[in-house]
Amino acid sequence: MLDSAILGIRWIGKTVLFPVRILGRVGLFLATAIFWTFVPPLKVERLIRQINFIGAKSVTIVALTGAFTGMVLTLESYYALERFGADALLGPAVALSMIRELGPVISAFMITARAGSALTAEIGIMRITEQIDALEMMGLNPFRYLIVPNLLAGIISFPLLASLFNVVGIYGGYVVGVKLLGVSSGTFFGEMPQYIDLTEILHGLYKSTTFGLVVTWICCYFGYTTGYGAEGVSKATTRAVVASCVLILVCDYVITSLLF
């Protein structure tokens, strides 16, 4: 009787400790990475490579999704606003939702899908083929060579891509709103500056910068701690993408509620 009670309590302890341990490891990983960010020298060449990989190569997909997001948003908002005769607010409505919310979030999703998964797979394969061990054997710190350039590239690329997403989206909205739905071009653009402050734009930038850090951090962590073999890498990749997407939405909520 007593034995089974102790067993039960032990089980509770175990289930509580497990996520705590994981969180601790993930946190420690970030702390180590941040430590090595500030220990010179910075591997500029790796950084440029990763900005190219995470940022420059995502331009097309981000622009494409941005255009369609802006277009559908305009269409939806138009039908809603038209009922109140408030179609003058179409431009500001589209621009505000893009800048504050959709730009940072959807572009982060797209980059996670395109670059985040590849990041996990690449680092995971380097782990299982012992390339990370080889780096350590040469006396070179894997964080400096692999993790730090990725984190920095994420922090730099995400806000730039989100801005691109916003601009393309707003112009996508312009095409639908002005050319298809017949809202006057002056109303569409003219009203925007009245409603958008620098704070809104900064708000969006805080978000996308945070997402950049979170996504690259999570993707690097899962790659770095990948399990054995091809199965390990595939599992790590799936987990990294899912965890990144969930965390994007969680952070989005937290930041929005903090900044309001």
Binding site: N52, G55, L164, M192
Partner: protein
């Protein structure tokens, strides 16, 4: 060659990204890159409900300045609004400032109706005549409940 292509790609990416960011913050966010130049005048309103810093100041629908600051006068509980006006625009002393709304539910802005006086308001001076904004909910209330006299 390969390295050059890489740098070119990253360079182009940076240019595109920063151009987009600049477009958003300067065109839409009204970031003042050089700072808005102009002279300050102020006016006292009994009510400025909804007016924000940065709102435009217009004469006959043409923007001539911005709202720089809104404060409460602790002595007579009126709102003190400071404007920054385009130096080329000289306001006659008896001009009237009014808080107005764009459209039915749009943004609040300040409209100035110039007077006929020969003397202009000096920088730091005051626009004496003001009108509070037209309060939509107040008007609807009066319409529904009628004036108490009837």
């Amino acid at each position: 060659m390969k390295r050059f292509d890489l740098e070119l790609a990253v360079g182009i990416f940076f240019l595109i990204g920063i151009a987009c960011l600049a477009y958003l913050s300067i065109k839409l966010g009204r970031m003042e890159v050089i700072g808005y130049k102009g002279y300050a005048v102020y006016a006292k309103f009994s009510n400025v409900g909804g007016l924000k810093k940065g709102a435009s100041v217009e004469i006959g629908g043409v923007e001539v300045g911005r709202v720089k600051d809104i404060k409460l006068d602790p002595e007579d509980y009126t709102a003190v609004v400071t404007f920054l006006l385009n130096p080329e625009v000289k306001l006659p002393e008896d001009s009237i400032a009014a808080v107005k709304t764009k459209g039915l539910i749009g943004e609040k802005y300040v409209s100035i109706t110039p007077g006929a006086s020969e003397r202009a308001i000096q920088p730091g001076g005051r626009i004496r005549e003001t009108q509070p904004p037209f309060d939509l909910s107040d008007a609807i209330g009066r319409l529904i409940y009628g004036s108490p006299g009837k």
